[in-house]
Symmetry: C2
Subunit: 395 residues, 2 copies
């Protein structure tokens, strides 16, 4: 357990270092043309963008420095060096490094969507090979109630690798679409990271302790650098984090989920992102018109946020969009205003949904509300993972 | 040997892919503000910069796709999977990926010098750990003539790791300072890569064949993507390659040199870079004034390049700069013009030296001359490595 203490101390150093580095590098980013204007503020000053690359690099460097420590015992006794665990860590860092590169390139160059879906898949390739070599367990345990029909486990073979590849793509993009107000991207990542770390600590006494220790090696420096980033990204944001941050975060969560065998538990911590994704589907797939920005509308006079809206001309409504609108209306998940020629609805994100359900509020309060929801969902996730899982599975 | 054929075929695909991708992405780079103006042309059009990141990414992705093939036999028989070799490849790719990220960040953000020296050192850390675990041979063989005093080999222990870390820093920066005219950076990298590949092929029948096979796995996709880059970077350049390219190239050469145990041979292929570095030292360390750009001066009327010059006020001359100037003059390595108050000399790069020795010439001819010199030096390197080495060492 010494190694966990050391990675904890290293992470504290990483926090201070990131915290000090961000203000120093801000001007460099603005000078390079990497900046945005905060749409939810009256001030139109330049806010540096893509600062996630700074915290990501510190995270990576910290992990590099930790390698000789993590394998300290192995280094003493080179005959029995755990080459397979070492390869796991290298593959994890390689996948994360790739995403850092891709995310930064995306922020700088504004890549097309197809690259965004293709490259995380390729970046997870080393990970999948390591998984194949070290574990190659492609079975899902079957709940007790279904075992009569399916047996105790179902081997889905190659599909399991497709599932893992898609996990990386999902995690990287899920955070990216639940974004747009100060501190939300980084805040949700912190909540997810804390949930994963809590889970690891609970399981550290179990027989899978090695896997959870591995997860902590990666999650602790990640959390530390992300907290430092949050400090500067919190309302009112002095820096924006960019796609870089979302990509690195998503890949980090996918990596620990896959290599430490709790990918389903990781997905449980993504409940708000899944809800947001499902709710967004009609707009993402353009069944319902989708404006370029879906973030809430800023009311400068009152300094509050209001739900942003999409206009649907009635002549464009097809069967599918009609059906979806009806379902959303019945479920009271949409605020619709109709006139002769068109219908306007709120943009379908849970950010706008919160504003509809709880009324207009300041940006700061909205972020806190959404993050509280994330925390509540993590609590539900733990309830599902522990008491409920024992009902469906043998402990 | 099947795997080498497959990596060869994959490399051909990588060449075509890179060649097709570069023109498509050119505008994206210019739009993102990543462009430069060619100082040695009359046209002042925008040339996209940092395109090395494109060839670098294709190189990396090709290597990822090759992983399952390289370890195909191992994957069939997971009991005897060569975890150590797998970790080597992962560490190599991790170091290269890091340099790609750093190089691109440098091109975008224009980082300070201390980061440029610090980060390659950190990026080579996974490499050094792999080296420690898999080999930890820190001895140099001693030439026969000296064995009476030193024994057959000298173990320099920890210093060997310092040497390897510095090798990465040297290789990344050596290419970077022998640059400035169309096609020179990429051209020299191609010559070095071809030299390394020839060496690997010669040694493929020796008892170290595994190490040289490993080197080919990395060098072939590197060469293919670099050739595609050269096509677009050759005179007149339609793209610039940026620091990204120099960093990735340097790290790639260092990686194969270290992990395949021929780092001294790799250094032999860097003779022109070493000469250029030594010749540049007085200016790099500011013993003699160093202007921001040292590339040759373009004469638009004649469309030729002429040596660029540095002015040294006589009152600033100290003992050291006087001594250096005297040595350079005696060795006829400098073109000096003196008046009452100051001395002007050519900037101390071998590019300018070529112009002094062989007269002003077109940019194209200068690049070809310098690359011919690089090829000649590689031939000398092979002479040193084979016939001469057998005089100093047992075969």
């Amino acid at each position: 357990m010494w190694s966990i203490l050391i990675v904890f101390l290293l992470s504290i150093v990483a926090y201070w270092f990131t915290d000090g580095l961000i203000p120093k590098l801000r001007d460099l980013f603005v000078k390079a043309g990497l900046f945005g204007v905060d749409l939810c503020k009256t001030s139109k000053s330049k806010v540096p963008e893509a600062i996630g690359v700074v915290s990501g690099c510190v995270f990576l460097v910290t992990s590099f420095l930790f390698i000789p420590i993590a394998f300290g015992n192995g280094l003493m006794d080179r005959e029995h060096f755990p080459h397979n665990e070492f390869a796991e860590l290298l593959a994890a860092l390689l996948s994360i490094c790739c995403m850092l590169l891709l995310g930064f390139a995306d922020d700088v160059l504004d890549l097309r969507w197809r690259y965004k879906l293709l490259l995380p898949t390729i970046a997870s390739l080393p990970l999948l090979v390591v998984y194949y070599v070290n574990f190659n367990s492609t079975s899902f345990a079957v709940p007790i109630q279904l075992r009569e029909w399916l047996g105790t486990s179902v081997n889905i073979g190659f599909l399991y690798y497709v599932y893992m590849g898609m996990l990386a793509v999902f995690c990287t993009n899920a955070i990216n679409i639940l974004a747009g107000i100060n501190g939300l991207e980084v805040g949700q990542a912190v909540v997810i990271a804390l949930s994963i770390i809590s889970f690891n600590l609970m399981e550290l006494r179990g027989d899978q302790y090695k896997a959870h220790q591995f997860s902590l090696y990666i999650m602790l420096p990640y959390l530390a650098t992300t907290l430092a980033l949050l400090k500067h990204n919190w309302y009112p944001s002095k820096v924006f984090v960019g796609d870089t941050f979302c990509y690195v975060s998503g890949m980090t969560f996918a990596v620990v989920g896959i290599l430490s065998h709790f990918s389903k538990t990781v997905l449980l911590f993504f409940i708000p992102q899944v809800i947001n994704f499902v709710y967004s589907v009609p707009q993402i797939f353009h069944i319902i018109p989708c404006p370029r920005h879906r973030l809430p509308k800023y009311n400068g006079e009152l300094d509050i946020l209001q739900p942003s809206r999409a206009l649907i001309p009635k002549q464009d409504m097809g069967f599918l969009s009609n059906l979806i609108l009806k379902i959303l209306t019945v479920l009271r998940l949409v605020d619709r205003v109709e006139d002769k020629e068109s219908i306007t609805i709120n943009n379908l994100t849970i950010i706008n949904l919160f504003l509809i359900k709880f009324g207009d509020m300041t940006e700061n309060k909205l972020t806190i509300s959404l993050l509280s929801f994330q925390v509540a969902c993590s609590c539900v996730a733990f309830l599902i993972r522990y008491p409920m899982a024992s009902y469906f599975y043998d402990s």
